[in-house]
C-alpha cells in the first residue's frame, strides 16, 4: 500500500537516511526499528511531508506522492502521531481533531459539524471524551488518543505512530494497542516506531530495521525473528575502533562524584552512580532517557528532591552553575554548543576566559593580554586550529568549536567534567582525535561523566557504562571494550520491557 524506495536525506554534516526502503501493506501493523540516530524519525518526517527527500520515491497505492508539506500527506491519507505532542492546549478536543480541515460556512466555524466529526473519530477509537473539553485538562494519555483521532479524521489509510507509548503507563499502552489492532482489522496500515521490543513483538506483523540510514531488514515477517536477532540487526553496525592508550583506575580510589538515590523534579527516580578521578563513566540511554536533564539537575539548574550528591566524599549542595564551578570544580560541556556553550559573536580568547574572568581581572577590568595568554595555553593543549585568538568562535568548524567549549572548563581548572554528546555533528576524523583528547583528560586525572547516544563512542571511551532508561538507571556494566558483546548487553538492558523490575534486568 505505502512504499518508500531508496529515500536519501542529508542534513548539514549528517546523512540521516542513505537509501532506506519501507513497504507497508494494508491491514497490517508494521514496525520500524533502529537505534538512536538510525533514521527512524527522519523517515517518519519524510513520509508525512515535514521534510522533503533529497532523492527516492514515495508511493501510495501505486501512485507517486510528492509531499510539499504536512497537509499534502494528510490529504493523501497518511496520518501521523509525532513523538512530541502537537495539540493546541487552549483549544477544545473537537477543534484540535479537525484543525486541518475546519468545517466552515462563509468563514465561520461550523461547530455542529466540528463536534459531529470529532465524535465520529473518537467513536472509531471507542473513546469516551467530551469533544468540548479543552486539551489543557487532559492527561498525557488522553492527549495521545486525541492525536490519533486527529490522524484518523481524514480517513487516513496509513497511520504512523512515533513512539506512541513513550509517556504512557503499561495499562494505557495496552489499551492503545487494542485500538491499533482494531484499526489493522479495519484494513488500515499502521507503522509503529517504538523501542519497546516486547510491545512491538506483541502487536506488529512485519518489520523494517534501519541502521545508519540504510534498511537492513525490509518488510520481513516479524515471526522470522527473535528479539535477540532484531537487536543484532539494530546494533551490528560497521565500526572501526580507535586504539586508545590503556588506562587503569584503582577501584579503591574514592569517587570524585557520587550520586546516591537521587530524584529530581523532572522525574528522575533513585539514580545512583559514581565517577573516580581518572575514570570515564559512560552514561548511555535512548534520546529522552533523562541523561542531559540529570546533568542539569546536578548543576543546580533543576531541583533535586531526594538523595545525596557527594563530591570528593563531602555532601554537596549545588544551587547554581557558578556554585558548581567555583566551589566544587564541576564543569558541564553542553550538548548544544551553539546555543549554550559558546558566544559565537565573540573572539575565541574571550570564550575560553569567560569562566575565569574574576581571576584574571585587575581592578575590575580584564586585561586583553592575560586573556590571550590563557587562551594560547589551551589552544596549544587541545590543538585548536585558529588563525588568531581574536577569531570569532562562530567562524570555527564544529570540532574546533567543541574544543573551545571544552577549553573554558579546563581553564576553570575543573576536576570533574560532564561531557554531553561531545562529538555530535563532528566529522569522523575529528571524532577520533576528540576521543583521544577525552581519554587524555582522564589520564591526567579528571573524573569524566560522558553522556553519549553514540554507542560505539561510549564503548570505546568509557571504563564503566551506566545505562539509563525512562529517568532511571537500569543497569551498570564494566566495559571490556568488546563492541559486539557490550552493545548487545546495553541494548538488552534498554529494551528489556519496563514491566520487568530493575533488579531482574540488572541480574540478566
Amino acid at each position: 500500500m505505502l512504499t518508500a524506495e531508496n529515500l536519501v536525506k542529508t542534513f548539514p554534516g549528517v546523512r540521516a537516511l542513505d537509501g532506506a526502503t519501507l513497504r507497508v501493506g494494508a491491514g497490517s501493523v508494521h514496525a520500524l526499528l533502529g537505534e538512536n540516530g538510525a533514521g527512524k524519525s527522519t523517515m517518519v518526517k519524510l513520509l508525512t511531508g515535514v521534510y522533503q527527500p533529497d532523492s527516492g520515491r514515495i508511493e501510495l497505492d501505486g501512485a507517486e506522492l510528492k509531499l510539499g508539506g504536512p497537509i499534502d500527506a494528510q490529504h493523501a491519507g497518511i496520518g501521523v502521531v509525532h513523538q512530541e505532542r502537537n495539540l493546541i492546549p487552549a483549544f477544545s478536543i473537537a477543534e484540535n481533531i479537525v484543525l486541518h480541515h475546519l468545517p466552515q460556512s462563509a468563514g465561520v466555524v461550523d461547530r455542529k459539524r466540528m463536534r459531529a466529526e470529532a465524535r465520529r473519530c473518537l467513536a472509531l477509537l471507542e473513546v469516551d471524551l467530551d469533544p468540548d473539553t479543552p486539551i489543557s485538562r487532559l492527561s498525557v494519555a488522553q492527549g495521545q488518543l486525541v492525536e490519533i483521532a486527529k490522524a484518523l479524521s481524514l480517513d487516513s489509510k496509513v497511520l504512523l505512530l512515533d513512539e506512541p507509548t513513550a509517556s504512557l503507563t503499561g495499562d494505557e499502552a495496552d489499551r492503545l494497542y487494542t485500538i491499533v489492532r482494531r484499526l489493522r482489522d479495519a484494513g488500515r496500515a499502521v507503522v509503529l516506531v517504538s523501542h519497546k521490543l516486547e510491545e512491538v513483538f506483541a502487536v506488529a506483523d512485519t518489520v523494517t530495521v534501519l541502521r545508519d540510514g540504510h534498511s537492513v531488514a525490509e518488510a520481513r515477517p516479524l515471526t522470522e525473528f527473535t528479539q535477540g536477532q532484531v537487536i543484532d540487526l539494530m546494533v551490528g553496525r560497521a565500526y572501526e575502533s580507535v586504539a586508545l592508550a590503556e588506562r587503569h583506575v584503582d577501584p579503591a580510589t574514592p569517587p570524585a562524584l557520587r550520586l546516591d538515590g537521587v530524584s529530581t523534579v523532572l522525574g528522575h527516580r533513585d539514580v545512583s552512580l559514581e565517577v573516580r578521578p581518572g575514570e570515564i563513566l559512560g552514561l548511555y540511554g535512548l534520546v529522552g532517557a533523562g541523561r542531559s536533564e540529570l546533568a542539569k539537575a546536578l548543576l543546580g539548574l533543576e531541583r533535586i528532591t531526594a538523595g545525596t550528591v557527594e563530591i570528593h566524599g563531602k555532601p554537596a549542595r549545588i544551587r547554581t552553575v557558578g556554585d558548581a564551578l567555583s566551589r566544587y570544580k564541576l564543569g558541564y560541556v553542553t550538548e548544544n554548543r551553539k546555543d549554550e556553550g559558546l558566544f559565537l559573536e565573540q573572539p575565541v580568547a574571550r570564550n575560553i576566559a569567560v569562566t575565569v574572568w574574576r581571576r584574571l581581572a585587575r581592578a575590575g577590568l580584564i586585561p586583553d593580554r592575560a586573556e590571550r595568554k590563557l587562551a594560547a595555553t589551551y589552544v596549544d593543549r587541545l590543538g585548536i586550529r585558529i588563525a588568531s585568538a581574536q577569531q570569532l568562535a562562530g567562524t570555527l568548524s564544529g570540532g574546533n568549536q567543541q574544543k573551545v567549549s571544552l577549553a573554558k572548563w579546563l581553564a576553570a581548572e575543573c576536576d570533574i567534567l560532564v561531557l554531553d554528546e561531545p562529538t555530535v555533528g563532528i566529522d569522523v576524523r575529528t571524532k577520533a582525535a576528540f576521543h583521544e583528547l577525552i581519554a587524555g583528560l582522564a589520564a591526567d586525572g579528571l573524573a569524566l561523566l560522558l553522556i553519549s547516544s553514540d554507542l560505539p563512542e561510549t564503548v570505546s571511551l568509557a571504563d564503566r557504562i551506566t545505562v539509563m532508561s525512562e529517568m532511571r538507571v537500569v543497569g551498570e556494566l564494566v566495559n571490556d571494550h568488546d563492541y559486539t558483546r557490550m552493545s548487545q548487553q546495553i541494548i538488552r538492558l534498554i529494551h528489556a520491557e519496563t514491566h520487568t523490575s530493575t533488579g531482574e534486568v540488572a541480574a540478566a
Binding site: 494528510q74 487552549a90 484543525l99 466555524v109 461547530r111 473513546v127 489543557s136 485538562r137 488522553q142 488518543l145
Partner: protein, 326 residues
Amino acid sequence: MTAITTPTASRRYLRTSEFTLAVIAVTGFVALALATGGNLLSAGTLGAFFRFLAVPIVIGLSQMVVLAVGQMNLSVGALTGFCAMAAAWLMLKAGLPAPVAVLAALLLGLVVGLVNGFLVVLTRINGFIVTLATMTIIQGLRYGVNGPDTFQGYSAGLRKFGSASLLGLPVVFLAALAVAVLVGLFFARGVAGRKLLASGGSPFAARLSGISNDRSLVIAHGLSGLLAGVAAVLTVAASGSVNASIGDDLLLPSFAAPIIGGVALAGGMVSVTGTCLAAFLVRLVDVMQAQFGINPRWIDLIIGAVVLGAVLLGTVRAKLQERRSP
C-alpha cells in the same frame, strides 16, 4: 481515559480573570461615584466618561490582535494619529465627503498594518523592531500632513455622530462595543481567527495542521492596522479637532488594556471582555485624576504599576495552575 471532574460552568466562571476584573471595575466605579458625591453620575460627566472610553477599547483590541500571534505592534498609536490626520485632510483640503474620508482612513490603517505584517514575514525581523521602525516613519508622515497646525471645523455630520447619544450612551462608545463584539466573534467562531490563535498557541502544531503561520502574522498585523483606523475615525468624530500629536499617548494604554485584561503575551489566548474591562479601569483612573485634580504624572505611574502588577499576577496564576494539574 479516566473521567474528568469538571466543576460546574458557573463555578469555573467565578474563577476567571474576567470575573475578577468585572468586580474590580464595578467596585471602582461605585467608589468613585460616592467619592465625587454623585458628580460622576451626572449626565455630562457620565457621557464624557463613556465617550472617551471608545478609543482606549478599540486601541486595546488593536494591540490584542497582534498579541494573539505572539507579536507586538508599537505603531498603533502613531497609526491612529496618521489615519485621523489623513481623514481630516481629505475632508478639509481635498473637499471629499465624510463617508469617503472615513473609508479612506480605515483602508489606510489596513494597508499600513498589512505592510507591517509583510515586513515581519519577509524579513524575519522581530515584529517589535519592525513596528518600532514603522512607528517612527508614521510619526513623520503624521506631522507631514499638516505640520504643527490643527484641523478643525470638518464635516458637521461626523462631529454630530461623535457627540450623539443613544439610550443615554454615546454612539461612539456603542460603536466601539460593536467592534469589540465583532472581534470577539472573529476569534471565537471565525476560521481565520481560530487559525490565528492556533499559530500563536503552538506554531509547530499549527504548521502540522496545514496552517500557514506567515499568513496568520500578516492577517493579525492587517487587522491591528484596521482597528487603529477605526480608532482614528472615532477620534476624529469625538474630539472635533485633530493635530499631529494625536495618538502619542495611546501606546501605553494599548498594552495596558489587553495585559491587565489577561491576554497572554506569548500568544494563543485572547480576552475581548478582559480587554474592554481593563480599558474601563484605566479610564476610571483617568477620571479620578480629573475629578481630584491630581498631577497627571501620577496617573502614568499608577497605570504603569497596574500593568506591571497584572503581568506578575498572570505569572503567579499560571504557576499555581501548573502546580494544581501536574
